[in-house]
Point group: C3
Chain length 158, copies 3
Amino acid sequence: MPEADLLFRLASLNTAYASCIDNDRLEDWPGFFEEHCLYKITSADNHKRGYAAGVVYADSRAMLHDRVSALRNANIYERHSYRHIVGMPALRGGDDGKIATETPFLVVRTMRDGRMDLFAAGVYLDRLHTATDGALRFTERLVICDSSRFDTLLAIPL
Amino acid sequence: MPEADLLFRLASLNTAYASCIDNDRLEDWPGFFEEHCLYKITSADNHKRGYAAGVVYADSRAMLHDRVSALRNANIYERHSYRHIVGMPALRGGDDGKIATETPFLVVRTMRDGRMDLFAAGVYLDRLHTATDGALRFTERLVICDSSRFDTLLAIPL
Amino acid sequence: MPEADLLFRLASLNTAYASCIDNDRLEDWPGFFEEHCLYKITSADNHKRGYAAGVVYADSRAMLHDRVSALRNANIYERHSYRHIVGMPALRGGDDGKIATETPFLVVRTMRDGRMDLFAAGVYLDRLHTATDGALRFTERLVICDSSRFDTLLAIPL
């Protein structure tokens, strides 16, 4: 596949992923991942130090579904609004037929009373795979946040 | 047209649209729309509830021109700076040859004294049409804002 | 080269440029420019007035290397984190085989204690050139900031 076409498919995938979260269709979110996958939210500091643990960690699609259930039970009240702004992916030269990318992101939060703030910024370090049904899915999405404070970051997937 | 080419044309159109507003060339802004069109700014809450009314509503290019005249008369003093950051469009599967897309956006405002704040975030829900002159134009642009507070949002088109 | 392919190469270049700065690989930053080049940070106000001077000004790759050395000497302490979010480039119709583009950007800063703020917003006005080694490089990058306050803007390249 020509590189421009690939980048477009990746950009479209990121838009669909963000739209899924921002429109509160969390139940669809695990479908962006392969069954055997790695999803992790961590800080740039911890990532640099090579710490394997993340604030959020899941290594299967089933665990992602569990996470959505937990969020649904925790968020009894109407949640704030979130808006992902995702940059263009940069190819990181995946080996062995895998696609590896780095993509900057920013998430803005809007409170129920209209106040807005910067919620999270960082990069996605992704590995992707074209499934047998032709769909691109994540085998790995590491969410590397610029901030090391995670008190509120657990409200939604990033 | 291959999908990648279409997405690129849409992304270029969004960049040109934002540049027109952010560079204060408001008089060119109605030219992005078909003569018979729908432009509406509303909140996510009101959109979900199916309310047809918007904080800003125009159903023709002439009404958009009127809106620009009104803004020019209202903004006697030098205005703040605005900067749109627009994400990649996601195709929503337009029917009958129409193109339908969903595109996240963020607008940052810079005051005359240098202070910056988050001005607006949300999605564009668009329908587009390739005119006989070959140009892509909006037949519909619904600006769905995450916030329901619109006190200041009337200063510029979004 | 078809326009969609060109836009993709430009978007990829911008992502790589931002990644270089945000990941603190400043020593690689001058490599994005031709040896004879113009790099300038200025305000929208000063740009409109036609002032040639910028807050930061360099007209060769060697001067960009000097700037990096100066930043390295000035920033003794661990620096804040920066995250560029760069929009899609709009072609400005470069003459004589040159490529000219306008691209919106936003930079978010994350402090060591986790606080985040809007650091800079504006547009890149670029001229680019395909070098004999096939790489796209900047012959000119004007960083036009919406704000005219530059007290802190000198901490990193934009």
